[in-house]
Amino acid sequence: MDSLSASTAESFRLLFSGDAALWVIIFTSFSVSVRAILIAAPLAFVVAFLMAHLRYRGRRTMIAGFSALQSIPAVVVGLTVYLVLSRSGPLGDLQLLFTHTSMIIGQILLSFPLLVALSHAAFQAADRRVWETSVTLGAKPARAFLTLIHEIRFGLIAALLAGFGRIIAEVGCSMMVGGNILGYTRNIPTAIALETTKGEFAQAIALGMVLLTLALLLNGMLAFFQGRGVMSS
């Protein structure tokens, strides 16, 4: 008990004293996950829009596929990316394994199905008149698409937050393709896992508090934006 309270006290000291090692880990986490979500989101929105508005063979299968892919374990994605990027893999020559790029690739693959599924729901629920009004007022398809994005922005922001929540907290993929290299690819979840196995609870608790605060913040924002989305529809 004494050890737990001492670790907690130390974790607060680490957090608020600006401990460089701790803040590098936090920065790495955010840097990788923000870049992953910014790359994945535009493509996911376009795919979701096409799935919602075009009628083609295999559309239902595609929707079901993205829905199923949401539950794919992070370690499986990590394993796949590892095999592709490892020295003997098809993209081994690029030497991307254990870099930020490999972590970003893994997190893009993890967040993409969730982003597509959630934004598809938002596009599906969008009023058909948005597109038609834009077009009848002379908007080109790209402009009408941007207008539609603006009209359903709260649903799409909710999708972004949910996707970000999924990747910022995942351990398996980052551990496998990032390698948990101190000061480079070590992020919050991999650092927590490592420090816990070493019995160094102070840093693990400090990072856990950051993740917990982030989770609460994301959920609060998610509830807010989902509420706005319903109200504005």
């Binding site: 008149r129 038609e132 009004t133 009848t136 007022l137 002379g138 603006h150």
Partner: protein, 232 residues
């Protein structure tokens, strides 16, 4: 009066049911035509096809005397034909931004947009609403914004899909007044309604859509006898 658009051999099926089979439909300059028919009879589908928002199974389309393929005609029609939904959709932004939307798509200069928007606000009598979010407006106010947003683009043809549905009498009268002023401005109007007598005073002609076919109708002064003649 010369025809702006001529749709011929228009055919549309929905779920294997023949919804529209129209031999000929012309929209003439400066004409206001009522389009009546029972609910679900295809009025909205016909208007959406005429606006290029929905593709027919087949049609021959002539625009200003030039026969064009469907896709090209749709692109050309966007500058001439504007369709207003039964309940117009206003974007989640200010009234001014809503009215300026179409001009921005046409890359009109900011100074010109400002001048035209100001004029459109005055025309519709909604200057006091210009900074309000369009979503906060009442049904009648929304309709006025939608009319101003359409008029600012100087369309040659306006397709109005039951514009007075679910309106109180005062808002309905306001809408009729705006339609009359648009007609005076030289805009050709096709006005869908399921109660022709309510818009008879605005219209020069009456088309009736029955079993997917169009009929031109004449109504005697008492409105008691109806004579239906094949149209087209």
């Amino acid at each position: 009066m010369s025809a702006i658009i001529h749709y011929s051999a228009l055919r549309k099926t929905v779920h294997d049911r023949l919804l529209l089979e129209i031999d000929s439909l012309e929209i003439h300059e400066h004409a206001c035509v009522a389009l009546s028919g029972r609910n679900g009879g295809g009025k909205s589908t016909l208007m959406r096809i005429m606006a290029g928002l929905e593709a027919p199974d087949s049609v021959t389309l002539t625009l200003d005397g030039q026969t064009l393929p469907w896709r090209r005609a749709c692109q050309r029609m966007r500058t001439h034909v504007i369709y207003l939904h039964q309940q117009p959709y206003l974007f989640d932004r200010s009234v001014t931004d809503n009215i300026a939307y179409g001009l921005r798509q046409r890359k009109v200069s900011i100074a010109e947009i400002s001048r035209k928007v100001s004029e459109a606000l005055d025309w519709a009598g909604i200057g006091h609403l210009q900074l309000r979010n369009a979503r906060e407006l009442s049904g009648g106010e929304r309709q006025r914004v939608a009319f101003a947003r359409a008029r600012i683009l100087s369309p040659r043809v306006l397709l109005l899909d039951e514009p007075t549905a679910n309106m109180d009498s005062e808002a309905r009268e306001q809408t009729y007044r705006m339609i009359k002023r648009l007609k005076e401005d030289g805009v050709s109007i096709l006005l869908a309604t399921h109660e022709f007598h309510t818009v008879a005073h605005l219209c020069d002609a009456h088309l009736s859509l029955e079993s997917g076919k169009l009929h031109a109708e004449t109504v005697d002064t008492a409105g008691a006898e109806r004579k239906i003649i094949p149209y087209g």
